[in-house]
Symmetry: C2
Amino acid sequence: MSDSQAKSKRMGGRAAKRALRAAPTPDEEKAVRPGMRGGRYLPLTESQISRIHEAVLDVLDNIGLSQAIPSCIELVTKAGGRLSSEGRLLFPRSLVEDTVANAGRDFVLHAQDPKHDMELTDTKVYFGTAGAAVNVVDWETREYRETTIADLYNVARLVDKMDHIHYYQRSMVARDLTDPREMDFNTCYACVSGTSKHVGTSFVLPEHLEEAVQMLHIIAGGETKWRERPFVSNSSCFVVPPLRFAEDACHTLEACVRNGMPILLLAAGQAGATSPAALAGAVVQEVAEVLAGLVYVNAIVPKHPAIYGPWPFVSDLRTGAMSGGSGEQAVLMAACAQMGRYYDLPTGIAAGMADSKLPDAQSGYEKSYTNTLAGHSGANLVYESAGMQASLLGCSYESYVIDNDMLGAINRTVRGIEVNDDTLSLEVMREVCTEGPGHFLGHSQTMDLMQKEYIYPDVGDRTSPKEWKEQGSTDVLQRAKARVEEILSDHYPDHIDAETDAKIREQFPVRLPRANMVVGSLRRT
Amino acid sequence: MSDSQAKSKRMGGRAAKRALRAAPTPDEEKAVRPGMRGGRYLPLTESQISRIHEAVLDVLDNIGLSQAIPSCIELVTKAGGRLSSEGRLLFPRSLVEDTVANAGRDFVLHAQDPKHDMELTDTKVYFGTAGAAVNVVDWETREYRETTIADLYNVARLVDKMDHIHYYQRSMVARDLTDPREMDFNTCYACVSGTSKHVGTSFVLPEHLEEAVQMLHIIAGGETKWRERPFVSNSSCFVVPPLRFAEDACHTLEACVRNGMPILLLAAGQAGATSPAALAGAVVQEVAEVLAGLVYVNAIVPKHPAIYGPWPFVSDLRTGAMSGGSGEQAVLMAACAQMGRYYDLPTGIAAGMADSKLPDAQSGYEKSYTNTLAGHSGANLVYESAGMQASLLGCSYESYVIDNDMLGAINRTVRGIEVNDDTLSLEVMREVCTEGPGHFLGHSQTMDLMQKEYIYPDVGDRTSPKEWKEQGSTDVLQRAKARVEEILSDHYPDHIDAETDAKIREQFPVRLPRANMVVGSLRRT
């Protein structure tokens, strides 16, 4: 580099920093926003889609699902289904096609704070959490310890601060609450208290909804307001693959639908164990199961907001254990999302389910290829996208912060490239090359696009090796730890005002200590 | 899980393990092979491609490139180019279009061992290394130390054993060799000695080719045989963006072409510094530069094997420093690859250029989203895909092993999903659900597909948290370290026989100690 080049570079850097300080970028001009449009990755050809669709209809019409509960049989047969002599509930082609045609779509998944609402339209994509982890991993001691209700609240608070995690479905089980009803209630309470983003949860039994729904009415300002903007959805594992209804989950699903709670219709077969090892077959089975669920939901309440969620998991066939971080996993989920776009249904898939037990390089790459393909697949919701380890058995506080940076970058790729007269930059190039300084540093285009075209990581490091050493040679886990501690020590969301919270605590068995009193210190317990 | 389910699961696991031991899978049946077909990720629409193409032609015709060397001016003007009054070499539309139409394509990039040959046809994709790192990072001490010729040889040996790294372009600079000519010769020698896969290198001056080409003739068995199957390509940074030829690199390029050496036409502008900050403009400039190079190469020797290599790098605009691990980087490269498919040219892009200084979670996710989108973009060659840290300033031995697992999984996603009567699995589902055990473990389809549909990581971990703890709670770096040591202690490729090697060592200034004598111990020096 010549002296003059070096000088220009320095000046460019200074000018850039000035510009950065001077102008906070309005949300709508930011390089990355929630709900960018994906759908540019097409794992299946059109003819493959048709064949899968035909196979799905065949499965539903001829194999059907076993173990339907009486109310389900009644609703579905009334709608046009039939019960086979072996007691399997069969879904004729016309019933399935009519349901897909008439199902609720293009709806909004609400948040307590409307700025976090999510429009489930065409290929708009949002990244969020999910899971039922039973352990939190402490990467410093390498210990897996049991998850608690305080963890659920703390992670909600973290997610609340993460720009690129757009909703919070409960990602772990409160193992310190032994009564299932109290656990379900408190899980919902911890999530809605910890973040004003959309919350997903999963009730085990229909009667567990009772206190929770009352609480949600209180928070919303009455039942009508809750039903206008339901900000909690229920993740319904209504099937036990292969092709068998889950009794309790079906009862709960009916209760959720009747209470106006959006439903994630989740079918999670594990290829080679509870669904076919052939990837195409795994897609067929999970799509068939979800469409059966869609018929069921629409038979309860037509057009009820339901998210199509075929989640074909992968087995490591050597052991039968789940491998959520595999390449097979990434392509399976993306194919299901593409089928979702074929049906034009609000689509939710899972990605980010690293097999690695720690947030290490393996964890990073597993989360990244699964989330990247999910983000580009045309899915509307990418569940499990942050925080998870050990194929969903564990999660990590630091991972939420690390994965947030990853999701921001992936979301930048989803945004893609705008091509127009300005961005093609012919005039800029001509000027720089034939009249100007021979570089683009400090050019007005560069300054202008600094925040609009580019995003910057929070704990991700971009220093030179020299600067990095001067700053302590940290890895991303160390930086994420500092960020987690910073957020947990002072971010106590107050979107639910103290009065409302007191009312809830008075009426219901809240087991979470009062927010800013003790929770911060509970983190490592 | 019921007892009978648990029992079936165990039996499935045992049967699976037996099948795994019994039948080593032939290469052509493996779940992942080199040269899978990508091209399912389409970041640009057709109209965006047209507009970019028009802008590229406009740039070449009206702005052109400065600083062409006399031989280049002579060749290109003879072919139809013209020199502007300001001394810029202009490439009229028809010249560019005719060159693209008639350029060499669908050629093979040869390897010393033909089983590693790469067919650069349509969307077939291969992952390999590249780079000019000046440091190796030791993740245990967190020290960056200078790279040596022994490192180049050692990493060649590692790459030789990695199934999912398909070629070895030199990824670092031998800093212990101070004479540039000796460095260039020894770099080539270390690479071709360390692996029988295709090698890429980069000569600094044309006269540096002399000994190297003589050596390559000896290894090939004479000049004719070398020219029939040239197994070393030259990475030519023939431009200094924006739009300016690089004098030395152009002289070297001419020498390489005349010696029958395939060329990577590499244009590496840095968006916001040496190319426009607007991503579309960065694509336009780098594609224009590469097509100028293609005209140049074809004017020297028509249809000479040349790889179209627009590599628009990204700047962190706050500092001007390169950010190879950014989301912007991933989408920029993929867009250039898509333009390559539009021109139907053999296309090489870069991915995997992590900003992180260590192989940590940040490194993992940066490498993964960039490689994933590159692999699906339709590029034929993905350079830098393994081993790199610090935006190309450093590399890590362990990263090559870790990244190999990542690339295997990504390549599995590139393979996609086959849809046919067998894979749709209708009969299998019917059998399992209506007659069989209610699960697919141990089913003949599952056993049969175990190695054909699924790949398994080498150092990636898929154990349960309990097993993981019992096995020492390791992270992937620790496991990769053990694998690196295992390979380096005993893998000394002998594809160049001892007699030939002795001949080379007699005639040329080989500075690398004789292979299995001392190199193993040099690793950490």
